[in-house]
């Protein structure tokens, strides 16, 4: 770990520069010719991908390419620089971002073809790529924070892209605000780091923590736990974990490519990347932090899986499945197996992006119809979309040859071998919940597959296969979803060995055993096929039997409503009271009150001026008399 060579090179700076220039060009030139903006944006994404490849090509295991751009700001010893670093960890993320980003850009040129806001869309999409790359390449926590809030902003802009519809904008605002709550956590973490270690630069932090650990500083664990917890809050905000996941389902209001890129593949994984990048904080933190993370992750996975089962909107199903899969990633991250979390990030990026783009293709085909009950029997009408969707469903279900199995299996395995004693102790329960969730995942994905592609077409549009620009990315992603698991199972840990602790491959099972190990996924698929295939009458019967449970699941456990009534409404009420009551009532009251007092007393004195001389004589002599009396009495 400490034999790292820091090479100064411009690569890390060029990678985010491409989408930035692309965004400006797309918006600027695109206004004249809409399609042109799509081309520029896609080209910029591809250029970024190429630059990443070039950067990664000659990257030695423990080498770090650093671009120290300029001193951002600094007072006294505390200083923050704009430094971007490309090392093995960030290169993996960059490849995923730019790779899938380019595919999705290509896909969007067709998907958004008939939307007059195309230049704006592609400008925001490229801006998102820029922010995500800055986040990943950030040399210190502050530059990471720039990307962190940048992606929050882009997701706000893209969710509310069709701003005519107010509740889309509401969803965008909700996403931004909930992310902001998470960002407050990251900020808190930064302040703690500054206070206790004087820097937020990852390399320096790594050394100082190493020093402190060597000195067996008693307070180190406590401080790191606190910092870790703050960063975890930030991660839950950005990666939609239990308390702060409410924004992700609403984020489906944005166009589908946005959901695919931002709310499936890249942005939501930022939390996992933060864990991997700041692993030294979590490693030296107390065992309780790891346990909290794992428990929250498991609960999130399970709850969102149960909700997904009862959703009828295809994008909502995928959204909750994303939240669930993120739970899996945090299981691994919490357990200290950072490379496994990254492994699942990559495989999830492949099949989830494919699923979303497939859903997008279906929606595009059915003229913006998102309700699965209005679809069905599309396998003949949209064969390519069907095949790719089918493959991805098998992948996410975690069935042997597909990538989903390998990463999920690695996660469950990592729980057992985690250095964190508490996690190992609680591993059985966590694994049980995870397996049940995996089964549920298989079930609801198969349900969505069957409802959309099998049976007869229930909608009244006439769906058609999407053009090549949409199907090519689907195919590429489907292929990656298949080979991703096997391909990366051993090469990824080897690749990340120098950068992440405990990055060593698990012994891979023989094909037959792994087939056996994926029995949960197979079981889920079979139940799904039977329930929504031949025994189609059974689900409505179940629904009638336990209406309460169904309403609870469809209503998403009413978490939104709980937040609304417990936090938003009272806050608004209090603000109104503060405004009317305190601000105008009390403070202005006293101010205007004093004015009135002066006015009233003025009025009183006025009555004394009667104009009659004798009254004045009275006051005059009265005064003299009292003076005389006082003089005498005194």
């Amino acid at each position: 770990m400490d034999t790292r060579q820091v090479i100064t090179s411009l690569d890390p700076a060029l990678i985010p520069l491409a989408p930035l220039v692309g965004a400006a060009a797309a918006y600027g030139l695109g206004r004249k010719n809409r399609v042109f903006s799509g081309v520029i944006a896609t080209f910029a994404a591809i250029v970024a991908f190429a630059l990443t490849l070039k950067g990664v090509f000659d990257l030695a295991p423990s080498a770090i390419k650093e671009a120290h751009l300029w001193r951002w700001f600094g007072v006294g010893q505390v200083a923050f620089d704009m430094t971007l670093r490309l090392d093995r960890l960030s290169s993996v993320m960059c490849l995923v971002i730019t790779g899938i980003g380019s595919l999705i850009h290509l896909y969007s040129t067709a998907y958004m073809a008939d939307d007059e806001g195309m230049p704006r869309f592609f400008a925001y999409l490229n801006l998102f790529l820029f922010s995500m790359l800055v986040l990943v390449l950030g040399g210190n926590l502050l530059v990471l924070f720039i990307g962190w809030e940048g992606v929050g902003l882009c997701s706000y802009l893209l969710i509310g892209f069709w701003f005519r519809n107010l509740n889309y904008c509401g969803a965008g605002r909700k996403a931004f605000v909930v992310n902001r709550i998470g960002d407050a956590g990251v900020l808190m973490g930064i302040f703690l780091l500054l206070k206790h270690f004087g820097t937020v630069d990852f390399l320096l932090l790594n050394d100082r923590l190493g020093e402190a650990a060597a000195l067996f500083d008693p307070k180190l664990a406590a401080v790191c736990t606190l910092i870790g917890f703050c960063l975890f809050i930030g991660a839950t905000g950005k990666s939609a974990q239990l308390p702060l996941f409410v924004w992700l389902p609403d984020a489906m209001a944005g166009p589908t490519p946005v959901s695919a890129l931002i709310h499936a593949a890249t942005m939501v994984t930022a939390g996992v990347y933060l864990f991997a990048r700041a692993h030294f904080v979590f490693d030296s933190a107390g065992a309780e932090l790891g346990l909290i993370v794992v428990v929250v992750a498991a609960l999130t996975a399970f709850i969102s899986a149960t909700i997904a089962v009862a959703q009828n909107d295809i994008k909502k199903v995928l959204a909750y499945s994303t939240v669930s899969q993120l739970g899996f990633m945090f299981l691994a991250a919490g357990a200290g197996a950072y490379w496994v979390a990254l492994f699942h990030v990559i495989t999830h990026a492949f099949f989830k992006a494919c699923l979303f783009l497939g859903a997008g293709s279906v929606i595009h085909g059915c003229h913006h119809e998102q309700d699965m009950r209005q679809m069905g029997g599309l396998r003949r009408l949209m064969p390519v979309t069907f095949i790719t969707y089918f493959i991805s469903t098998l992948a996410i279900a975690g069935i042997y040859p597909f990538s989903g199995f390998h990463s999920k299996h690695a996660i469950l395995a990592s729980l057992g071998q985690s250095p964190n004693s508490l996690i190992v102790a609680s591993a059985p329960i966590i694994v049980l919940i995870a397996s049940v969730t995996a089964g549920l995942t298989a079930f609801y994905m198969t349900r969505s597959l069957v409802l959309t592609f099998f049976g007869s077409y229930r909608g009244h549009a006439h769906p058609h296969e999407s053009p090549w620009k949409m199907t090519v990315p689907l195919i590429v992603l489907a292929v990656l979803a298949v080979i991703g698991g096997i391909g990366l199972e051993h090469s990824l840990p080897h690749y990340l060995e120098a950068v992440l602790p405990r990055a060593h491959a698990h012994e891979s099972l023989a094909p037959i055993d792994s087939l056996g190990a994926s029995w949960i996924g197979v079981l889920g698929v079979l139940i799904g096929v039977f329930l929504y295939g031949p025994l189609a009458s059974v689900p409505p019967a179940i629904a009638k039997a336990i209406p309460l449970l169904l309403r609870l699941l469809q209503g998403k456990y009413f978490i939104d409503e709980v937040y609304q009534t417990l936090i938003v409404r009272p806050l608004e009420g209090v603000s109104r009271v503060l405004w009317r009551g305190v601000d105008q009532g009390v403070i202005d009251g006293t101010v205007n009150g004093t004015a009135e007092v002066v006015e009233v007393s003025g009025e009183l004195v006025r009555t004394m001026q009667t104009g009659d001389v004798r009254h004045y004589a009275l006051y005059l002599f009265g005064a003299i008399a009292t003076m005389v009396a006082v003089y005498l009495v005194w």
């Binding site: 006294g76 940048g150 107010l166 605002r173 206070k195 601000d583």
Partner: protein, 541 residues
């Protein structure tokens, strides 16, 4: 620059706008169309010349040279010991630059004023003189003179060219500020008298340099600082004393709002920084926790109320209360990082809120209404305006890469060391900030187009020219704030130094055996404890 050595740069800087106002009235022509155009041109000319002078001052200012620079000192009122003493340091120069940059933009934005334009511009120029004077004065008496002098033109601007309730608003504004500053004047007199009494010289003096040698007991310091703080906190405005701001903003014309939010509010903070803390360090230390608490309450209180506002200008006004709460927290926290951050945030707030008011002005000129309900979905109608409004909103909610973030981050990280709990609540302000600004943006810009706003025209050239410099500044200070920080930091560190030394001197003179906070910096081990560099009383929150 040899030829400029003798030239009294600061006096020229201060009195040039006043000369402009006089020239405006000297030339006949009054309110005829070409007369108005000529007076606008003249006013613009004078404000730009003042800007050039301030840039000249910047070029001749070297930030690492200790003490005040470009000092001019003449005897003025001999008997009272009042000297006409001007001088600048990093902090005042930064605020001067903010003023001289905003003023030309305000003159440019005055195209919406049609009746007695000459009077309006003259008021603005006189106001600029008063503001610059306040920033350069080193003599407490002169400072107070300019401080009071600021009220008159502002009263006229709100009172004559304001909205419907302008008389009430301007009266409230003037009375609020006057009450505070009268008390301050008493404190000034007392201070100078004590200094004169102790120093035994034959002439009293109001010079800051001399007053710093005076000795005050803790009791005196508490009362004197309270008087200063009251005047300054009304101006800032700090939480309970802020109710004049929304009324003043709502009723002021566009230019009035910009100068009020952009510069006038900063005078309070500048006053505290320049006079309040150095003169009465222990008194300040006693008040510090309370001011910090009020600041944080102000942050959250301002944000909450802004959220439920119906009038855009009132919303932005309450957001100013919230933003300046950060600046106060930064100043009171007392570490060099937080005080520098507070000054930087003052400049940033001036730019972003100034721009927001200009934008509201643009809307107001077209629709003559400021109610959020009258707008809706105008992003489709005015895309360029919507983009500009979005960018300045982002700067206002402190998004990284915009100027707002730099100041806010420095304040919060700086004040975390002295007031950890308060900084945690201030963070809630960051979230609330996003809530109310985005709500405003959503309600006005997004959704179906409001039928009443069909014929809305997009930004004209003159409005774009007014906003362009501010937009450049937002991103330039967001990406490269270090030059500004380098300008401000040495003066802040020096002022903190003076305050700490003076606090020791006063404490020895009090001969109280108070346990001093161990001043030596803990060796930079793992847990680097850095207490506030202001002398702090044991009861910090």
């Amino acid at each position: 620059m040899a030829l400029l050595d003798g030239f009294p740069l600061l006096s020229a800087l201060v009195w040039l706008p006043l000369l402009g106002a006089i020239v405006l009235y000297a030339i006949p022509g009054g309110d005829s169309p070409e007369g108005q155009l000529r007076s606008r041109g003249l006013a613009l000319g004078f404000t730009v010349m003042t800007l050039i002078l301030s840039l000249l001052a910047l070029s001749r200012f070297s930030s690492n040279q200790p003490g005040y620079q470009l000092v001019e000192s003449f005897r003025w009122i001999e008997a009272l010991g009042v000297r006409y003493e001007l001088g600048i340091d990093g902090v005042s120069l930064a605020l001067i630059l903010l003023t001289t940059i905003l003023m030309p933009l305000i003159v440019l934005s005055s195209h919406s004023i049609h009746e007695s334009v000459r009077g309006y511009l003259a008021c603005m120029l006189v106001l600029e003189t008063a503001m610059l004077g306040t920033l350069v004065a080193l003599d407490l008496f002169l400072f107070y003179l300019f401080w009071e002098f600021m009220l008159a033109p502002m009263y006229l601007i709100i009172g004559i060219w304001g909205g419907k309730r302008r008389v009430y608003a301007s009266m409230k504004f003037v009375l609020y500020t006057a009450v505070g500053s009268v008390l301050m004047f008493v404190a000034i007199l007392y201070t100078s008298w004590m200094a004169y009494d102790q120093a035994g010289v034959q002439l009293p003096s109001f010079l800051l340099g001399d007053l710093l040698h005076a000795r005050f007991t803790l009791q005196e310091q508490i009362w004197l600082f309270a008087a200063f703080a009251l005047a300054m906190c009304i101006k800032i405005p700090l939480f309970p004393l802020h109710t004049w701001l929304p009324d003043a903003h709502v009723e002021a014309p566009t230019g009035g709002s910009v100068v009020l939010a952009g510069v006038l509010l900063k005078m309070g903070l500048y006053g505290l920084f320049r006079f309040g803390y150095p003169l009465f360090p222990d008194g300040a230390a006693v008040f510090a926790p309370y001011l910090a608490a009020l600041a944080v309450i102000g942050i959250i209180y301002g944000a909450c109320i802004a959220w439920v506002q119906l009038d855009i200008k009132k919303l932005v006004a309450y957001s100013s209360v919230s933003h300046l709460g950060y600046c106060v927290l930064g100043l009171v926290a007392g570490t060099s990082l937080s005080v520098t951050g507070s000054t930087v945030q003052m400049i940033n707030h001036g730019i972003s809120t100034g721009a927001l008011f200009l934008l509201v002005g643009v809307l107001y000129d077209r629709t003559h209404t400021r109610l959020i309900a009258d707008y809706g979905g105008i992003a489709a109608k005015v895309p360029v305006f919507a983009t500009l409004f979005l960018l300045f909103t982002l700067s206002s909610i402190a998004l990284p890469l915009t100027n707002g973030f730099v100041g806010e981050f420095m304040i919060l990280s700086g004040s975390y060391e002295t007031y950890p709990m308060l900084t945690f609540f201030a963070l809630a302000g960051v979230v609330l900030g996003a809530v109310y600004m985005l709500t405003l943006y959503m309600k006005t810009m997004y959704g179906e187009v409001n039928p009443a706003r069909e014929g809305l025209t997009d930004i004209r050239l003159i409005e774009a020219v007014t906003l362009a410099p501010l937009l450049i500044l937002v991103f330039w200070l967001g990406l490269f704030p270090q030059p500004l920080v380098d300008l401000i930091e040495p003066s802040v560190v020096r002022s903190l130094q003076i305050t700490k030394e003076r606090s020791h001197v006063l404490r020895e003179s009090e001969l109280t055996r108070e346990a001093l906070i161990p001043e030596d910096m803990a060796p930079r081990g793992v847990l680097m404890q850095k207490q506030s560099e202001y002398p702090s009383r044991p009861m910090s929150l």
